[in-house]
């Protein structure tokens, strides 16, 4: 299961965050900060997994992240998720944002956080339990624009 999705920039500023368990606002910010510290220390060409899962619940958890330009996309998941699958999920998520905003950049997320949030919301709700049917998912993202469709898992490795 996905425990949390965090998106923050190179300076640790949260751009979009969703926790699937309840934490107080302070704890949430704390988690984001710590995650940022863990993630930002890492080089570009190291693996995308971190076993710093103590941040949110049990030791079972893993942080899986990707770094795109100025943004970090971090998923906190437990052991029932396929690591590579989540990496692809992040990829698809970013591509979806890209479709929504046409060449998504950090500013899009900043200024259209509601849209991004809503775009993400169904995706995340599905992934709250776990999202696997990716080819299906993005179609639901933006209700106003049902034509959005993500090509079939380009980087499915």
């Amino acid at each position: 299961m996905i425990k949390a999705i965090l998106i923050f920039n190179n300076h640790g500023k949260p751009r979009l965050s969703k926790f699937y368990e309840h934490y107080s606002e302070d704890t949430e910010q704390q988690i984001i900060r710590e995650t940022f510290h863990l993630v930002s220390k890492r080089d570009e060409n190291v693996c995308n997994f971190l076993e710093g899962g103590m941040l949110i619940g049990g030791s079972d958890n893993k942080l899986i992240y990707r770094h795109y330009a100025t943004l970090y996309f971090v998923f906190c998941v437990d052991s029932s998720e396929s690591e590579l699958g989540i990496l692809d999920l992040i990829q698809v998520f970013v591509e979806t944002l890209d479709k929504c905003f046409e060449n998504v950049c950090e500013l899009d997320l900043i200024f259209h956080v509601d849209k991004a949030g809503i775009a993400g919301a169904p995706a995340r709700a599905v992934s709250a339990v776990k999202n696997m049917n990716l080819p299906e998912m993005p179609r639901n993202i933006n209700i106003g624009d049902i034509s959005i469709k993500v090509p079939n898992l380009p980087s499915f490795k």
Partner: protein
Amino acid sequence: MALKIVKGSIDRMFDKNLQDLVRGIRNHKEDEAKYISTCIDEIKQELKQDNIAVKANAVCKLTYLQMLGYDVSWAAFNIVEVMSSSKFTYKRIGYLAASQCFHESTDVIMLTTNQIRKDLSSPNQYDTGVALTGLSCFVTPDLARDLANDIMTLMSHTKPYIRKKAVLIMYKVFLKYPESLRPAFPRLKEKLEDPDPGVQSAAVNVICELARRNPKNYLSLAPLFFKLMTSSTNNWVLIKIIKLFGALTPLEPRLGKKLIEPLTNLIHSTSAMSLLYECVNTVIAVLISLSSGMPNHSASIQLCVQKLRILIEDSDQNLKYLGLLAMSKILKTHPKSVQSHKDLILQCLDDKDESIRLRALDLLYGMVSKKNLMEIVKKLMLHVDKAEGTTYRDELLTKIIDICSQSNYQYITNFEWYISILVELTRLEGTRHGHLIASQMLDVAIRVKAIRAFAVAQMATLLDNAHLLTGNTQRNGICEVLYAAAWICGEFSEHLENPMQTLEAMLRPKVATLPGHIQAVYVQNAAKLFATVLRSQEGNTEGTAAQETSQLMIDRLPLFVQSANLEVQERASCILQLVKYIQKLQQKDVEVAEEVNALFAGELNPVAPKAQKKVPVPEGLDLDAWINEPPSESESEDEKPKAIFAKEEPKHSRPRHTEVDEKELARRREARKQEQANNPFYIKASPSSQKVYQDAPGVEHIPVVQIDLSVPLKVPGLPMSDQYVKLEEERRQKERAEKKKKEKKKRKEKRSGRGKKHDSGPESEEDITPAHMVDIVTEEMPENALPSDDDDKDPNDPHKALDIDLDKPLADSEKLPVRSHRPTEAPKSPAEDGDTESAAPQEPKKKSSKEKKEKKKDKEKDRKKSKEEKKKKKHKHEEGEDLLGGQPDEPAVQSEETNEVAAPPTSTSVSDLDFWLSNAPVPSNSQEAATVAAAAAPVPQEASGTAPDSEPDEPKDTETEETKSSKHKKKKQKKEKEEKEKKKKKKHHHHHHHSDGGGDESVQNGTVEEEEEPLPPMSNYCLLAENSYIKMVCDIQGNLQDGSQVVVSVIFENKCDSFLKSMEFNVLDSLNSKLQRPEGAGPHDGLTVPFQLPPGVSNEARFVFTVQSIVMPQKLKGTLTFIVKNEDSSTHEKLDFKLHFTCTSYLITTPCYSDAFAKLLESGDLKCSSVRLEGVNMPFHHLLARICFHHHFSVVERIDSCASMYSRSIQGHHVCLLVKTADQTVSIDAKCDEPSLLGNVLDEIKQTFSQC
């Protein structure tokens, strides 16, 4: 001023939207907090306005602020307001905000229940969707209970978009409201075969997530998942299923055997790395679960290891990481196969990526052997020196200790080397693992007797150099090792070269800066050392030396008496008094050494950490019972406890004086032993005391201590463990040379003799002898310790509540709470009943049908069982009979029966699985068997369908065997059994229909349950043909999976006293309908019935027909030929029959949501037709039940004496009915997109009612 007012109103007119807020925050980088607080004030103003658009905008901004870490819970009520807006764009904002900041303790959630329910049932699918999405984030136990039924209804929504979400959210509902799991589970299971892949994968997800926590409850789903695994092409679904199997295999090793084949195939065929990786993972899990390595499993391991090596060698760091991760799983069971890749893993230790290095470290743990331990640890020590970050260094440190200490120091051949490693590790600055090193030191020193002398010497050096370790005390965890050092030096002081010097070191003023618990140990052990020193000095007959020592103690101890730490203080003052007393005696020239030593005498063995827990409760001990009668009078209260404590008092007395008699001493020793039994490291100081005092106190500490021939010089502050590696190398070389000389050297007792020796090449494990004969003392356990496998499950785990047996049939009480529509309405409006009942009570029916199937499987399995096992089985049958005993052959009431049928639930479900698993191919004759298994797998699950094709041939053969063998048995027994079987069968076929019906026909059942009048028994089996030998009854069902197939279930009953065999079923095909025959069979060949019938027995076979057009009913002529076998003769007989395919039999009970039903009717595509039935004299619900039962309809909605019903043909035609009744007249208006089908169905309905 005026300008300001104008400006303010304009501001309000152009309220900030979210973009403005964001822009504002970015423009106020310096005083962000201040800016936001003004914004929040504005938002508060906006929320006070009545305009919903303004409110929504405000809530939208709040959502953003919440993400930035501002508490917005004060606006919860406004969020609810926005949620309840009728406009979707606002509603969406409301739900988004709610999903971000609502949680279980948000009290306004209570207010949302009805709003959410309204949204859930909204005709707009997006309203429903957004409600489901939001709900998934903030569902509470109350919401879950109230809405469970609504969500469950949505699981059958016509839109896959909604179905998918509903299925997913059920998981959250289960977590919050575990009671809903059992009622909802059948439908969830149904969704595994949903036509929409999204819904299907959602269901797979939910079940996987559930099963991961409580796998044993989901074992019975294994066949279904197996089928999905072999048929699905969706990698995401496959990954999930494969992961799930990984969790299931440990519970059922046979499952593993079955899995290996398809998984290996997948590994070979897939190009998706993620899938490959998960397959490898599950194969590993399977291999772990199979205890014995079968020959061809080693191939699978090799395959896995090979694939993983490819991953590890990949340039992609992610793959490398995962490869190592999976490798470590193999390591646990098959270390050999991983060890060959040691080079690769050591290479990964140098990787720049910390995650990868850590994984490689994990692997090393399992790869060490006696041979390479030193080498590996040496390499790790190098890394320790290089490591810059403390986290990684600490990790290295723990790993080194783990590696060395694993399985009771199995791989350590030279403990002196290990001690030096530990000592070297103490040089790490700022590590937090000081206590770990300390406990290792203690453990080794206590349990390895041979090493004590060396350990004590090393510890003495450590104590001497304590100032090096405690340089900066604050952040230093390493000073913990001093705790161990002091204790070891004190406890084993007889091994000390220079106890006086160590005593000095322990009493240095600097010690007072150490943490309290360490000081306490220092003080206590100084006393022990003092005893040792006294003994040696008195032996030397120099009274003055001994007195000087006492003086030293008396001088130094007051420092500790002043300690703020209570324990240090207590011990110090105790010992100080003792020493003073000793000094007094010394001045009188009394020899005290013996008596002082006696204080610390006594053997203490290491006690296992869990020993205390494992002491079995003695028989007859009841801790809850009163030992004495509860005190009734106050006088007895005082007396008794006093007596108890008086006895124990001596235990608490402290040795303050030395005039002790033998008895007293013994008792104290006892007390001390008990006191220290809690300390697992306490061990008896051996009474050997041949210590010779050499140096006077004050002499410079000598850095070089001579100990043993094989021990090198050691200079404190310099690493020395390396020398051991060299030494060890030499030693081994020497040994090898010696061995070569004496080919037949005796094996030492400890080494298990493994036949051959390698002269050349690397020495094998067994050839390495330890440097010393080491006796590792095992930790003590109490006698009769119970074997413990305590699962320390987290009591707070929400999944614990979901540990629910899902195979048990549903009890009547287990229904989801059903909403009462509107309080103003009559409490039991029938419409509501019809609607809501469709959800809950349908389950028992389905369960029972499943049970039925299982029973059948059970029987099949029975037949397969060999003679020996039969007796056991009989017992089972008897159980079954008991159940049936109370019941007439033709059960009168259905609902009642549902419960009874399902009675022995778990056993049957398990044996169902057994059956499936017993089909598992023997791994050696792989491919063929696998396909058979794959084909057979669907059988237990699919209601109808492939039965005849996939019915394996074995049952037939084994059955003959069985009947033969039973013939040999006593006749009486045989008869009994047959009777039982017959009864069972009757019951079985009578109800078989339900199993095929599936769907919602239970609606009718639900109606029955709630009204008083019971339904008359019904059966869809109609007589096909009959003669004096055999009777055939049949039931015809459409096949859900295939739109052109119809399944005919025929029950053959042997009516004569002879044996019926070689039955052949043949039908004259028409243009429209054809019997499906096995490949290669001619169009006129008959099908062999896959069983034989002993006298009085009946059995069921299924035949699949292909039909082209389903709009017309039709009849097919057929013949059954069979051989009647008596004891002396056998005759060939035949029986003709006519199969009647009614249009009804093409219909399949399909549940329908009332919204969808309404839309269907509105669409205008349907043709209308109607029929009137006169003189129908039965209650309305009976009428509905009959239509449901005989014609495969389901009730969509029922209002008073009017009901809408729905069914679907196997080719997808919708059939809708509106049934009304008044004064014995029933009118049925029907709509269908195929008029002739409709006409025929109506005719058939009419006929049904004309018959009764």
